[in-house]
Symmetry: C2
Subunit: 207 residues, 2 copies
């Protein structure tokens, strides 16, 4: 289950540590197994399968499920391949009450690194199919300054891959391109761009 | 040089890969040694000392230096211990033209992980002594909403440790406490909080 293809094949994922196990349970995910060191298994076994430097006291195995939730505002991630970035964006989406769409080629949000970076948000944020409607593409340069965009008119904010940004055909399917003004081009990483967009959107709606 | 105490003792640090070596040279850091695989050394040697999964073609050893730069706006990091967060905050500071202060107990900005996350910004951002003047403390709850703060009046934005936030005595030395409104308390990580603050500050000054 450390590899995505096995997680996909089995329809399962695992989380390490009490906080994440609790978050998955609170999110209504079905626990297939919860292993507590010293009770259900030898601590050495948990340490052996753990991905952490300090092995956890608890590991939970959960069943994946289809998300039926919806969201007014959504981040659409296009081939965001770093699991830390996917996890951080899920955490920010949770903070600002947004959903997340993941294209093919994104890091698995249920992989260990993404789960860790998301700090439990994975189990609360609506995960939606990738679909561009009322979409603003965030581009490193040349877009309308974010401050000038009527964000209230749009519901989907599209973030490109760390390496290549957004391809032309995908840009053409967006209604608008926007750029966060900075003193250097490409100076913000994708997780920061997504977080700023959600902050700005939430600020405007006066939440 | 993989350990901070040796980097401190020697007054040196090393960077991996051409982009970071170039950024250090562009930043005016003195190269003590630049090792190119297949030219100066056996590739296997670089691979052995590298901290990367894919070993780099170039490793540069540089001398640390005192920073004499100043900045109008500064992030003050209090015991931010995760090197990825320190690197990300340096990257955001670079994007928005800010400086960074690091307290004791922060991750070393010249360690390999922080250097990688900063993507070269370490060599451009003013690194200043930790000093609280015109300071706003960012707190997870109970502060003035960031939108309502007259950010132009303040120059230092103080971020606490990932685990414990800011201690009381340090809060009392700040002029104000501010909170980014979110739908959940403690839902943003410290790097995202710092990035939002710098964005908001820069947005207000109409840059």
């Amino acid at each position: 289950m450390h590899e995505r293809r096995w997680r996909d094949k089995l329809g399962l994922f695992f989380v390490e540590g009490e906080d994440l196990v609790d978050a998955a349970l609170d999110g209504g995910f079905e626990a297939v197994d919860v292993l507590v060191a010293g009770e259900d298994v030898e601590p050495a076994l948990l340490a052996a399968v753990s991905t952490l430097g300090h092995p956890p006291r608890v590991i939970g195995v959960f069943r994946r499920r289809e998300s039926s939730a919806t969201a007014q505002t959504t981040l659409a991630l296009w081939r965001v391949s770093d699991p830390g970035n996917v996890g951080t964006l899920l955490r920010s989406a949770d903070a600002f009450g947004a959903g997340v769409m993941l294209s093919e080629g994104c890091a698995d949000p249920f992989g260990p690194k993404a789960l860790r970076a998301a700090m439990g948000s994975t189990f609360r944020v609506p995960l939606l199919d990738f679909e561009l409607r009322n979409a603003v593409a965030l581009v490193a340069e040349g877009g309308e300054p974010l401050q000038a965009v009527e964000l209230e008119r749009y519901s989907t904010f599209v973030l490109g891959s760390e390496r290549d940004g957004l391809p032309g055909d995908l840009l053409s399917r967006c209604d608008l391109q926007a750029t966060i003004p900075t003193s250097r081009v490409e100076s913000l990483n994708v997780a920061m761009v997504g977080t700023i967009v959600l902050y700005e959107r939430s600020r405007r709606s006066g939440v």
